[in-house]
C-alpha cells in the first residue's frame, strides 16, 4: 500500500466512523440536550414577569424539558434574554454568557431584546442584543405570551436536533 492510498484509506475510515458512530452518538447527545435545557436566572427587564408565568402551573414549561430559571451558571445551557438590555446591563449579560459552558443557546425574548422595541429612541437601551450575543431564536411580542415563549423553546429544540453534536470532528 502506497502512502497516498493509505491517506485515502484513513480518510474513508474517518467518514465511515463518523457515519457509524458519530451520527447515532450525536443523535443521542442531542436528544439528551433537548430535554434538559436549563435557563440562567438572569432577569433583565419586564418580560421576566411572563417568563415567570411560563413556569406557573397553567403553562408549565417544564413538561417540554425546560426547567424554571436556575441560579448556577456552570450548569446552565440556555440564556433567555428577558427584555430590554440597557447599557449598564450589557457588559454583565456578556459576562454571564461567557461564563456558561458549551454548548449554550440564546433566546431573545420580547421586542426590546430583538430590536429595542418601544425603547428604540431611548438613550440607555441597546437596539437589540444581536450585537453582543449570538441569538438562536427570536420570540416576538411586547411582552410575549407564555405560549409564544414555549413555542420559541420548541423551535430551539428543533434547531438543536439538527445541530452537530460536537464542534470538532
Amino acid at each position: 500500500m502506497t502512502p497516498e492510498n493509505a491517506n485515502v484509506f484513513i480518510g474513508k475510515l474517518g467518514d465511515i466512523l463518523e457515519k457509524a458512530i458519530d451520527t447515532p452518538l450525536g443523535y443521542a447527545i442531542n436528544w439528551g440536550r433537548i430535554w434538559s435545557l436549563w435557563p440562567v436566572h438572569i432577569e433583565t427587564a419586564c418580560c421576566s414577569v411572563e417568563f415567570g408565568a411560563a413556569s406557573s402551573p397553567r403553562y408549565d414549561v417544564e413538561r417540554f424539558g425546560i426547567i424554571e430559571a436556575f441560579g448556577s451558571l456552570r450548569q446552565c445551557d440556555l440564556i433567555v434574554v428577558q427584555g430590554t438590555i440597557t447599557r449598564k446591563m450589557a457588559p454583565r449579560l456578556r459576562l454571564v454568557y461567557d461564563q456558561m459552558p458549551e454548548p449554550k443557546y440564546v433566546i431573545a425574548m420580547g421586542a426590546c431584546a430583538i430590536t429595542g422595541g418601544l425603547y428604540f429612541d431611548s438613550y440607555n437601551v441597546l437596539p437589540g442584543i444581536d450585537g453582543i450575543l449570538p441569538v438562536d431564536v427570536y420570540v416576538p411580542g411586547c411582552p410575549p405570551r407564555p405560549e409564544t415563549l414555549i413555542q420559541g423553546c420548541i423551535l430551539l429544540q428543533e434547531k438543536i436536533k439538527r445541530m452537530k453534536a460536537r464542534k470538532f470532528v
Partner: protein, 379 residues
C-alpha cells in the same frame, strides 16, 4: 473622573481580614434586576449599598418626545403586571391639565381594573417571595391563581398584562357583556382561594421563624425614611391614599386599610395579602354601585394641549405604595417634563438601613418584603 463619582462596585474597597465584600446580583436568584453590594463580617452584614439602574430606560426623557396619548404604552412598562395602577396618576394628571371630567361609569371601571391589577401584582410578588424563601408551593399557588384575574383583565382589555386601558377621559373600552357575573364569580373563588394561603404560608412555623423579628423598621424610622405602601403600614402608620386622598370614586366605597405594628419582614409580607382580601371587597362594592350603562370615555381632540406653563402632581395608591406623577406642561402637545415618583424607589432607601446587622441568609426575605420592583425603581 475622581473616585468620588465612581460607582460603588468600581471604587476601590479596602482589603480587610474580617470584612468581605459580596456582590449579590444582577445575576443572582436573590436579587432580581439589581445589584446589592454587601460587606459581611462572618455571617453578619455590616454595610449594604444598593446599586439599581440595570433597567434604567429613560422613560422620563422619552415622555418629553411623545404627546399625551402616545405616552400611554411606554409609561405602563415599568410595572407591566400592575399596568393600570402605574398609568393611573398620569391619566389623572393629564385630565387635570386638560380640564376633562370623566363619566361616572368610567370611574368605576377604573377602580375595578385598578383593584384587579393590585391583586395580579401582589400575587406575582408573593410567588417570588415564596421562591426567595425556598417555599416552592408558594410559587406555584399564587402563580396559578393570578391567571384567574389575568383572564378577567384579558376580557376587559384584550391583553394579558399590558392593558393600556386607561386613557385621559375615561377607559378605552366598555366592559364586555356579562362581565359583572363572571367577575363576581371569579373574585369570590379567588377570595376563598387566597384565604387558604394562611394555612400553608402565613401560619407556617418555618416562615414565622425566618421572618419574624428580622429587619425591624420602627414607626419613627418609617416616617423619617419616607417609605410608603405596605412597608409603611406594616410599621404602624395608617396611611392609605385610597382613604386619605380619595381619587375617582374611592370616597363612595368603604375602604379599610390594614395596619400592623410589628414592622418586621413578617408584617411586611402579610400586609399585601390582607390588601388583596380588601381589594376583593372593594371590587364587589364597585360592581354593585356601578351605573349599569352609560358612556365610559370622553372623546378628546387629536393632539390635546396643556394650558400654558402649568404643573400638576397626582398620586394614587398602587401595589407598592403611593405612586406620584409630576407633569409640567408648557402648552405644547408633549409634556415639558414628566417625573414618576414611584413607591419602589422610595422604599429602596430602607434597604441599607434594615440589612445592617442582619444575617446574610435573611437578606432575600428582607429585600423582597420591601415590596420592591426593580424595573419600576429604575424607570
Amino acid at each position: 473622573m475622581t473616585n468620588e463619582f465612581l460607582p460603588p462596585g468600581l471604587a476601590l474597597q479596602k482589603a480587610d481580614e474580617r470584612i468581605m465584600t459580596l456582590n449579590v446580583g444582577p445575576q443572582h436568584p436573590g436579587s432580581g434586576h439589581m445589584r446589592i453590594i454587601v460587606q459581611i463580617d462572618g455571617d453578619y452584614i455590616v454595610a449594604c449599598d444598593p446599586d439599581p439602574g440595570y433597567v434604567h430606560r429613560g422613560e422620563e426623557k422619552m415622555a418629553e418626545y411623545r404627546n399625551y396619548i402616545t405616552n400611554i404604552p411606554h409609561l405602563e412598562r415599568p410595572v407591566i403586571h400592575d399596568s393600570c395602577n402605574v398609568l393611573y396618576p398620569y391619566v389623572l394628571g393629564v385630565e387635570d391639565l386638560l380640564g376633562i371630567e370623566v363619566p361616572e361609569r368610567a370611574k368605576y371601571v377604573r377602580v375595578i381594573c385598578s383593584e384587579l391589577n393590585r391583586c395580579i401584582y401582589t400575587m406575582y410578588w408573593l410567588a417570588i417571595y415564596g421562591i426567595f424563601l425556598g417555599h416552592s408551593t408558594m410559587f406555584m399557588w399564587p402563580a396559578g391563581d393570578r391567571e384567574l384575574l389575568i383572564d378577567l383583565m384579558e376580557k376587559i382589555s384584550g391583553a394579558r398584562v399590558t392593558h393600556a386601558h386607561f386613557v385621559p377621559g375615561g377607559v378605552r373600552n366598555d366592559l364586555p357583556p356579562n362581565f359583572e357575573e363572571v367577575c363576581l364569580r371569579q373574585v369570590n373563588y379567588f377570595e376563598k382561594r387566597i384565604r387558604e394561603y394562611a394555612a400553608v404560608f402565613y401560619d407556617n412555623p418555618i416562615l414565622i421563624s425566618r421572618t419574624q423579628d428580622t429587619g425591624v423598621l420602627s414607626r419613627e424610622d418609617a416616617i423619617r425614611l419616607g417609605v410608603t405602601g405596605s412597608v409603611l403600614r406594616a410599621s404602624g402608620v395608617d396611611y392609605d391614599l385610597r382613604k386619605k386622598e380619595p381619587y375617582d370614586v374611592y370616597e363612595e366605597l368603604d375602604v379599610h386599610s390594614n395596619v400592623m405594628k410589628e414592622g418586621d419582614s413578617y408584617a411586611r409580607s402579610k400586609i399585601p395579602w390582607l390588601d388583596m382580601l380588601e381589594s376583593c371587597n372593594i371590587i364587589k362594592q364597585a360592581l354593585e354601585k356601578m351605573p349599569k350603562s352609560g358612556s365610559v370615555r370622553v372623546k378628546l381632540k387629536p393632539n390635546p394641549k396643556g394650558k400654558g406653563l402649568n404643573s400638576v402632581y397626582k398620586r394614587v395608591e398602587s401595589g407598592r405604595g403611593s405612586l406620584g406623577c409630576h407633569i409640567v406642561s408648557d402648552g405644547k402637545v408633549e409634556p415639558y417634563r414628566l417625573k414618576l415618583s414611584v413607591g419602589s424607589f422610595r422604599n429602596l432607601i430602607a434597604l441599607p438601613y434594615l440589612l445592617k446587622g442582619e444575617k446574610l441568609g435573611n437578606m432575600p426575605s428582607v429585600y423582597w418584603s420591601l415590596n420592591y420592583w426593580p424595573v419600576e425603581a429604575d424607570r
